[in-house]
Every structure is written in C-alpha cells, then in structure tokens.
C-alpha cells in the first residue's frame, strides 16, 4: 500500500529560484534563508520518498485567464519547466507518476472533489523552487512529482476548510493505491506577503508564527480562517496559505514536527518552512 509518510511546507518565492540559479546561496542576503533548508536536504536524502504530491499554484504560466481550474492534478509523464518571462529556470524537467496520478484523479472525483485533469503542462517557480530548496542542485530530481495546482490567483481561492478536506481525500486516494510507495505531500506558497498596491511589502510576523505553531498542534483553528482575514492579516498574496492546509489534511491528526524555519525577507515575502511526520501506526482513513 502507498502511504503518506511526511508533509513539507515551504514558500516558493521566485527570487529564491533566481538566487539559487545564479549561485548566490552564500551571499549575505541569501545565506540565512538557504541555511534554513540544510537540515531538510539531509533529512529528505535519508527519507528518499518515491513520490511527492506537490500542492502549488501556477502564476500565469500554464493557465491564462481563459480557464481557471480551482483544483487540478497533473497526470503527465513529464512536466517541462516554464518560461515565465525571463527564460526557463535551468533545472531538470519534472517527472510525473501518471499511474498514481490517474488513480488519485479518479478516487478524488468519485470522492466528490471535482479535479481538472491535466495531461500536458509546464510548471513554474511555484513548483520548482520548493524542489530546489529541498534537493539542491541536481541533474535529475530524485523523486517523481504529482502536481496539484490550486487557483489562488483569481478570487476566490477555495476555502481553507475545503482545502483541508481535499487533503483528507488525497490521503484516502493514496492509501487505496496498491503499490508500496513512500509518498510525501508538500504544501507551498505563503507566508504573509502582498505584492501589489500601496500596501505592498506587508509582513505579519505574529500571524505567521501563530500559523506555523497551529499547523502541527491546532490545525482545527486554521480551517476556519476566512479569506477576508487572510487578506487583512497576511496580505493579498498571503491567502496562498490555504494550500498548506491541503498538506495538513493529508497527514492525519497527530503529527510530529521535525523542523521549523522562518525568515524575513525573501524579496517581498516572509518565508516559512515546516516538516511534519505523519503518524506511523494509523490504519487507512
């Protein structure tokens, strides 16, 4: 049986990818950020997951405004790296796991989550920056990736409650897959940030610290945060944090927090990063 062993959350700021690609990880500005992922890189090399279900949002790379799927799942063999206006990042293409992805798509839709199925898609910094942070510079990503794209660009994104429940359904989908696979779920984006208007640059550290704390110990408190509260407290783009709740919903009730990191700033954004270990002994959900 495939099983979800751990969850990772991380911000996916494009400037982190640019700094990484230019080899600036040890610069005065960026070193404190990249040092926060050193433990994580060691941890994941030992965990060696087979598949990462990577929850992220597209930033006008694969999806224009012609069609805006709320939840979409990538079922392709590979996903090319998108050109976001300055050339594609020099990182490997992302290899999918179509068998598990198609199984999940069917399971999720019959479980009443109306996923859009994607058979071809380029992936942007929302997906590749977390891979770079967790795996460093590699010739090929050492894991297969199933992208779950969530609309957080056009209001309204799905509610936090809905995202949490999707996470629970992802767990049911993964655990009903026969092959013995070590699967992680990653929730990306956030933390507090606002990229537009006169209020750009907003960072709410008390909000972020409370969110990090509640992710492990009191996720029920996070499910009911309204969109208006995200907008007021975490900035117009901080609403991306709903994607973290998909990861949290997928992990089960009692997790162990293995790693926590918080850093301000990465460009316009507060960076938050968590590694949570799923409970080992629970049976199928």
């Amino acid at each position: 049986m495939a099983r979800i062993t751990a969850g990772v959350t991380t911000s996916h700021v494009p400037a982190i990818g640019a700094a990484f690609d230019r080899g600036e990880e040890k610069s005065d500005y960026w070193a404190p950020l990249f040092e926060g992922y050193e433990w994580s890189k060691k941890w994941i090399s030992e965990e060696a997951p087979d598949v990462v279900v990577l929850v992220y949002n597209d930033h006008a790379s694969a999806f224009s405004l012609e069609m805006i799927p709320t939840f979409a799942i990538g079922c392709a063999d590979t996903f090319a790296v998108a050109d976001e206006g300055f050339g594609a990042r020099p990182v490997p293409d992302v290899v999918g796991h179509p068998e598990l992805a198609c199984h999940m798509a069917q399971s999720l839709i019959l479980d009443e989550f109306d996923m859009t199925v994607i058979n071809q898609m380029d992936v942007d910094h929302g997906l590749t920056v977390p891979l770079s942070l967790m795996f460093g510079k590699v010739d090929a990503w050492p894991v297969k990736v199933i992208p779950i794209a969530v609309n957080v660009v056009q209001y309204p994104p799905p509610t936090g409650e809905r995202c949490f429940k999707l996470g629970e359904a992802i767990r049911r989908a993964v655990e009903s897959y026969e092959e013995d696979l070590n699967v992680q779920v990653w929730g990306t984006g956030g933390m507090s940030h606002q990229l537009q208007g006169p209020r750009a640059g907003l960072i709410n550290q008390p909000f972020d610290h409370a969110f990090l704390e509640n992710m492990n110990n009191n996720p029920q408190a996070l499910r009911s945060i309204t969109h208006l509260e995200y907008l007021r407290e975490a900035g117009s783009e901080g609403i991306e944090l709903v994607m973290w709740l998909i990861m949290r919903g997928a992990l089960g009730e009692r997790c162990a927090e293995l790693h926590r990191f918080y850093h301000v700033p990465a460009s316009n954004t507060a960076v938050g990063h968590l590694i949570l270990e799923a409970p080992k002994s629970e049976g199928p959900a």
Partner: protein, 129 residues
C-alpha cells in the same frame, strides 16, 4: 448577489475578483503572450504596435506604456500576469512592488530588511486598525 464591499475597506489593496478578471482579460492575455521570447522581442522593438494587436482599452495601453502598475491593476490587471512585463524589462518583483508604494527602491528594500510593512493601521479603513 455577492458583496465585495469589505475589500474596499482594506487600505491599498485590490482583490482580483472574477469581475476584475473580466475587465482585465485582454490586458492580462497580452501579458501572458510575453512568456514567449519572440513576443518579448517584438514588444520591446515597438511597444505601441504590439499593444495595438490586442483589443485592450486605450487607458490600459497607456498604463502599460507608462509602466504604471497601480493603474494597470485599477484597470483589471493581475500582478502575476503583469509580472511578465517587468520580467521583460529585466526588473525584479521587488522593484515592481516598490513602484506601487510611492517609496524609492532603496526605501522599500530597507523596509523589507527590517521586517516588512507592519499591518498595524492597515487592516481596515473603518476600524482604523
């Protein structure tokens, strides 16, 4: 009828609703076209001619030519789509964000290094908090 009046109560913030997406559709689709290198070259060679290929309003085109990001957002632009313009210009997201705040790049970068803009007083106009 959906009521989005609470969004207007958040200082200095525009929420990209379906209505705004409708108003800004062609502006944002123009931005999206800049993900192709050949289109970036054509745009850079003659911005006005390139913009005239899109059924955008004159106000939208002028806002693009002026690189007035607040005006583009007022006219239905979405920041992730507009990012293709400043990427084409070779500018960072931080520089573009600073341009919307009335601060210089240096002032904005210093604010971020000191923990960012505090939400105090910027949550709600009516509550003044």
């Amino acid at each position: 009828m959906v009521d989005n009046s609470e969004f207007d109560d958040i200082p200095g913030t525009t929420v990209f609703t379906a209505q705004r997406s409708h108003e800004g559709f062609h502006l944002n689709q123009f931005c999206m076209s800049l993900k192709r290198p050949e289109n970036r070259e054509r745009f850079k060679a003659d911005e006005r001619t390139y913009l005239d290929e899109w059924p955008m309003t004159e106000a939208q085109k002028r806002a693009v030519l002026a690189r007035d990001y607040n005006a583009m957002i007022d006219l239905g632009g979405n920041i992730y789509f507009l990012a293709k313009i400043f990427a084409t210009d070779g500018l960072s997201f931080q520089t573009a964000a600073a341009s919307m705040t009335g601060m210089t790049n240096e002032e904005y970068a210093a604010m971020m290094l000191h923990g960012g803009r505090s939400p105090e007083g910027l949550r709600s106009k009516k509550d003044g908090n």
